[in-house]
Amino acid sequence: MFEQLKVLLLVAIRNLALHKVKTLVVGGILLAGSFLVVFGLSLLGSVESTMSQSIIGSVAGHLQVYSAEARDDLALFGSGFFGRDDLGEIPKFEDVKAELLKNPNVANVVPLGFENALLARGNVLDDLFERFRATVKSGNQTEIDSSIEVVKANLSNIRSDLENELKISGVPADIKKQIADVDTALSNEFWAKLKQDSETSLIFLESKIAPLSGEKEPLYLRYMGTNPSQFADVFKKFKVIDGENIPAGERGILLSNRIYETQIKNIVARGFDSLRKGLVEQRKTIAGDVALKTTATDLPKQYLEVAVYLTGSKRADIVASLKSFLKASDDNLETLVKQFLTIDDKNFAERYDYFYKKIAPEIRLYPFKVGDTINLRSYTRSGYLKTVPLKIYGLYQFSGLESSDLAGAFNFVDMVSYRELYGRMSSEGQKELDELRKQIEVKAVETGSIEDSLFGAGAQIESRSENKSSASQAQQAAAAAGGGKQTLQFKRAVSGKYDPRELDSGLIINAAVLLKNPRLLSITRLELESQLKNAKLNLKVVDWKQASGTLGQLVSVIRAVLLTAVGIILIVAMAIINNAIMMTTLERTREIGTLRAIGAQRAFVLRMFFVETLTISLLATLAGSLLAVTLVSFLGVRGVAAPSDFVSFLFGGPRLYPSVSTGLAFVAPLIVAILAQIFTMYPAFMASRISPAAAMQDRE
């Protein structure tokens, strides 16, 4: 047996050596197929593993629970569609939490709910005039005089910009009107009037001049309501990097550091940051990259975002410093700033350093900082806009995912504030509402019979009433303005506190479930579904992949594409193998006939072909697998850099360190070799049927 195998092996090697081209083609295809399977699936497996850590470790947990009445699927990282998802609601989180914790594999249940908020932003002139108003209010004449100079300098620049615009504008009448307004604000009479009637002058600047600097689109902030301290305990990647977490019982917001740096920061500083990333980290050039070129071209246009903050002595210092730095003779700050912000590949490094050393400390780098209060505005479930003032307690990021927009997509608020923004009324609010309704005496009317109720018998449409006397109304309002008879005045109650127990009771939208043993995820999911059903809680349980929306499906899609590609390669390879052996059979008819004539059995001929295919397929696929293992191991040490911020989320950080699955390295070549054997069967069977007589005929 062993002797026969030895002979078959020698024959196979001899035949493979004799048909070098065929051997190389077949071997090459098998090697490529095996390499692709081992390398592709190893990388994919590694990405899946890091991505699951990113998703599970940021906001998803292992499982997510939400209402079975939801019209849309839960998509924590976006469904890929615009609009607001309808996820239903969980009215009593406390009941759901108690039920879920009955399962021995459930470690933690975190209440969640997410929405988008609007954060209105004024333009640079709004900011300038807001500060100017405060200065005027302070009554400090030295500061007022200094601020007036800054306002005038900015007005002169706006006028100059408008003059340029006038030359190319298709609607010169509008521009001329704007120039006339700026001229009014630049006139001595205007500033003389400020001393007598500051409000009229300020309103003129705020309503006529401020709009000339354009409109800043509101910032859309995605926020997640939760129990802040529990969230920090459960999600280990979560880290507060500035300030502190929102204390229990306090209303507040934790801003994503990623959003703070890439969307909230001063636009000029963001421009410098973005250029630094492109030029230093990604080693691109302004001249050779369209996006960087656009950023560089836009920078000088943002000069006001720097200039308006340089007031008083700062202004003179920066002018002197910039003149020396730029070797310029101009004394106009705005001109110097424009010149300074004209960036190219050569001057970037020194200007970046200068900006952060000299200019950044003197300007408002962020519109708000930790400790400030911001107005978060969001649409309630019924489509009405609700505003809640929230203190910024800190900035957070997820460790290893600092540069990921996806991981830093959420800003966290306490669940109580979330409910208020959602439109859920507190018991105190409900009581107040009831009293208000009672006072107004609004009659409840059924929609179905509204016309009969409003316009039926007894309805009177029209009545005459008299105005109060003119003196009464004017006096009343004037008194209110002057602090006299306070008919309208009141003190607004602002409360930031609540009972910490409220965080874990009441309405939520979804809940993250963290498991003790994640390997039992599928089983636990089924168990929880059954538990919730028995407890008559109409909820869905989905795993982290489903909960993350289109992102979670990404790996499955890539896997399907890869396996399809491998499948096509293998089908081609098998067709070539089949064809090559058929050709070989025809070429070797005489040899096979001779072998059969000297006593070789049909089984021997069959085995000869099988061993030949086995030899080439094993050698080629193992070589492919070895190549893939070597490359993956090399990358596992060196790491694969994430080409974009999105990919860094998939990689679980800026680099992916892939690892090889040992089983895959052996199983993949084996499967390919078995397939090759199957496709050898038909030509081998044909060869085995060649008779000695046929071989002789072939010779003739």
């Binding site: 300020l202 505005r377 019924s382 009405y384 107040e432 929609t447 449409i461 009545s463 109650a493």
Partner: protein, 261 residues
């Protein structure tokens, strides 16, 4: 700005006004004349002040309510709203000057400025929602017929937006009381004729305006039914309306700020 606020503003500030009109026949010229009169009656060149109560219902349940005082000076296209109840809204205010809408948040002591370009208060409402009625300019009217609404005989007319008009509702239907010429019902429809909202005006207050030298009609109550999200609706109640002149300097930030010191 709350969308609820916007909705009531759309009705509270537009002051649809109608005067008596005895001889009528719905020929085309007379229909046009009626629509022009509707616009004319909404014009109030003087000052206006009213206390407004707004109640929002969602799926049949009251979810929000507030009370505010509205000030308006039509001559300068200025208006102002000061929210007084509930506590969470009290002191918030909106001041319209030029093309700007200033929003005041007393908890922060800060103002925000929006323009009509960006949508008022972050909503999808337009500046036209707040302007005086220009039905005759923006719409083409068609007489549908005489109908019965409760015990009232009403004239049913439809209004289609002219192609160049920038309006919130491309298609309107109005039911006007045949005797008093007050609007009793209004429907807002989409371009595809889908019914979006129905508004009912069960009562009108008639006041004499010195600046206009004529009567001004102010709705006492407006019931707004959301026809898309069934069960949702808004009730607006206007009280203590007054057309007498307001103090000259009332439309300022300082005045509004002073109300929540």
């Amino acid at each position: 700005m709350k969308k609820t606020h916007v909705k009531f503003l759309m009705v509270a500030l537009s002051l649809p006004l109608f005067a008596g009109h005895k001889a009528w026949a719905m020929s085309e010229p007379e229909l046009k004349k009626l629509v022009v009169e509707i616009d004319d009656r909404q014009r109030n060149s003087g000052d206006y002040k009213s206390t407004v109560f707004v109640e929002q219902t969602e799926k049949g349940k009251v979810t929000q309510a507030f009370e505010a005082t509205v000030f308006r000076r039509d001559g300068d296209e200025k208006w102002m709203i000061l929210f007084t109840k509930p506590k969470s809204e009290a002191g918030k205010g909106y001041l319209r000057l030029e093309k700007n809408l200033f929003l005041y948040e007393p908890a922060l002591g800060k103002w925000e400025r929006r323009t009509d370009r960006s949508g008022i208060g972050g909503t999808n409402s337009r500046r036209s929602d707040f302007d005086q009625s220009k039905l005759a300019v923006e719409y083409t009217a068609k007489f549908i017929g005489e109908e019965k609404l409760g015990k009232f005989d009403v004239l049913h007319i439809s209004l289609s937006a002219k192609p160049e008009a920038d309006v919130a509702s491309p298609l309107l239907h109005l039911w006007v009381d045949k005797d008093s010429r007050n609007i009793l019902k209004r429907q807002e429809r989409s371009l595809s004729d889908k019914l979006l909202r129905t508004l009912y005006y069960p009562g009108w207050d008639k006041k004499f305006s010195k600046s206009k030298g004529a009567d001004v009609y102010i709705p006492k109550q407006i019931r707004i039914i959301d026809e898309v999200e069934k069960g949702n609706g808004t009730t607006v109640v206007l009280r203590e309306s007054n057309l007498d002149p307001l103090p000259e300097n009332i439309f300022t930030k300082a005045w509004l700020e002073s109300q929540s010191r």
